[in-house]
Amino acid sequence: MSRQAANTLEIEGLKTHFFTKAGIVKAVDGISFHVAAGEVLGLVGESGCGKSITGFSILGLVDPPGRIVSGAIRFQGRDIAGLPDEDLRRLRGDRIAMIFQDPMMTLNPVLRVDTQMVEAIRAHARVDQATALGRAREALAAVGIPSPERRLRAYPHELSGGMRQRIAIAIAFINRPDLVIADEPTTALDVTIQAQILHLAQELCRNSGTAMIWITHDLAVVSALADRIAVMYAGRIVEQGPVEDIVDRPLHPYTRGLLGSVPSHNARGRRLAQIPGMTPSLINLPGGCAFRTRCARAGPACLSDPPLTEPAAGRQLRCFDPVMAEAAA
């Protein structure tokens, strides 16, 4: 948080709530983090923890009954939370891009690939059709699509899932954005294709200095890709720090549970260290630590909100009882 100038994105105390008939859903409830240029931040959590809503909030894509209640989203030093839609549109797809989980949903099924790519370019830059087409062709080649000339004239349904996701990535990177938010972009893909996409994302960030937020539930994927990890649970970031610290010396019981649940992290055939119970409903969530009902170490203190602490340089934690014994080792 100290290097104000170098951070592409800084989020402070962001709260996005949904005002439903059943009650207030605090999908994102006071989170703070930052991403520097060229850095990859892994935002990890299970379904319903608010990680996708965090991504949508940055882009101003939260629909009613949801809205950003408070907090600042500083993109290159400028607060973009609550900016008029017209100003946000100038940023979206140009300076900030998003890659979604399902490329079938993000590509328009009735438009050819070239139409969609050229549109993305010409919406933000005054270039003629031929120049835009040329840039689209280059972008497809850069994401490793064979015979880009032919793919440009294809419709999304004519392409495989891996190919479609690569086109979605090409579109996201086409205007050389400063920030890319990737929301589970490899979840629907096979391992070999997933590796290709990860490779691609890695290269694009390294080469262009783009900051990236990689939203996922898969710790294994993010541990190989990200520089830092933020673990979300029930709308809050419970732990944050460099990848090697989080993976080797997790402090929050939830992070430890998540790591223990990954099969390849365990001895073969052994029982996995599972977390009991399931994620709580976010409707009218009671106060205090949201994880306490599943936590083996919970005590009376956990009935009140755990404060944000800094157990080590560059690390943040929200827990009264960090597993200090292991951390000291």
Partner: protein, 336 residues
């Protein structure tokens, strides 16, 4: 695999499945005009043999479209093979009659991927779990209530939930209902088709643990179909890798992960993301899995294989033993 294991509980012999898509009128006219042939044929599974010993957990892995689900459905009896047969305890299941055929069918059950789509939304849990054992005379209707309560307890669900409908449960709980339904008819063999793929990481761990507990409690044998190599590595004794309808390698789990033989197996294992300390650079396999409508001739993997030779383009390699218990289908093994 050719090893004739006397203790094999289920054995697939030369199983093939071809799906034929008949052309509609327009396509037939077009085909006649452009001298194309009549039908599109997908060789989903192409001459696969696989023996699974009693008490074994066999992991079946491969990318989408490789035929692993089709193979699982043929082994469970949901799909009729186009060629080949499935032996249950040494007897051809297709030739069995009457009570024997019914017993053989009940003994092999399936657990499906989607816990939302595989439960009837209009049935209460009690009926979902209890209907089959009553219909097959395993328990009397009067005892059904107690039997269902016991089954729910076994899979870690509160028996008081038995009057509820599927939509009142979370994904992990629905998975448990699907497992209870399969267990209710006292099977010996379970085919799990991506049974945990739709679940969150922490819930996945709970279900994996449940599978391992049930294996002990009910002396179950599993065919565990998954694209997630980390999960398969964790629970399987033996792993079978498929590519475009064919088995390319089969080996005990530890040996496979220590030294994969087939170039596809090597590439696939290298892609598994692991919890690592350091950032790694991903070196992907080039290309994508080809369309099963027009698989490449010879070895199906040759267009993506860095070691492909002229022979691989013409001749399909056979699955042969390369070490005790290990099988691989690659011409490179002949040269050595």
């Amino acid at each position: 695999m050719s090893f004739e294991d006397a203790a094999a509980i289920v054995e697939a012999k030369g199983l093939s499945k071809r799906f034929v898509k008949r052309h509609d009128l327009a396509a037939r006219i077009a085909a006649r005009l452009v001298s194309g042939d009549g039908e599109e044929i997908v060789h989903a599974v192409d001459d696969v043999s696989l023996a699974i010993g009693r008490g074994e957990v066999v992991g079946l892995v491969g990318e989408s479209g490789c035929g692993k689900s089709t193979l699982g459905r043929m082994i469970s009896g949901l799909l009729e093979p186009t060629a080949g047969c499935v032996l249950f305890k040494g007897a051809d299941r297709g030739a069995l009659q009457g009570a024997e055929a019914k017993a053989a069918r009940l003994a092999v059950q399936m657990i499906f991927q989607d816990p939302y789509a595989s439960l009837n939304p209009r049935m209460r849990v009690e009926a979902i779990v209890g209907e089959a054992p009553v219909a097959h005379g395993l328990v009397s209707r009067a005892d059904m209530g107690a039997y269902v309560r016991d089954m729910l307890r076994r899979v870690g669900l509160d028996p008081d939930f038995r009057r509820r409908y599927p939509h009142q449960f979370s994904g992990g709980q629905r998975s448990r209902i699907g497992i209870a339904r399969a267990l209710a008819v006292k099977p010996e063999f379970l085919v799990c088709d991506e049974a945990i793929a739709a679940l969150d990481v922490s819930i996945q761990a709970q279900i994996i643990n449940l599978f391992m507990d049930l294996r002990e409690a009910f002396e179950l044998t599993y065919l565990f179909i998954s694209h997630d190599l980390g999960v398969v590595e964790h629970i399987s004794d033996r792993i079978v890798i498929m590519y475009l309808g064919r088995v390319v390698e089969a080996a005990p789990t530890e040996e496979l992960f220590a030294a994969p033989n087939h170039p596809y197996a090597r590439a696939l294992l290298a892609e598994v993301p692991r919890l690592g300390r350091q950032k790694r650079t991903f070196k992907p396999i080039a290309g994508e899995i080809p369309s099963p409508l027009a698989p490449p001739p010879g070895c199906h993997f040759h267009p993506r294989c860095p070691f492909a030779s002229q022979r691989c383009r013409i001749e399909a390699p056979r699955l042969v033993a390369i070490a005790p218990g290990r099988f691989s289908a690659c011409h490179l093994n002949d040269a050595a």
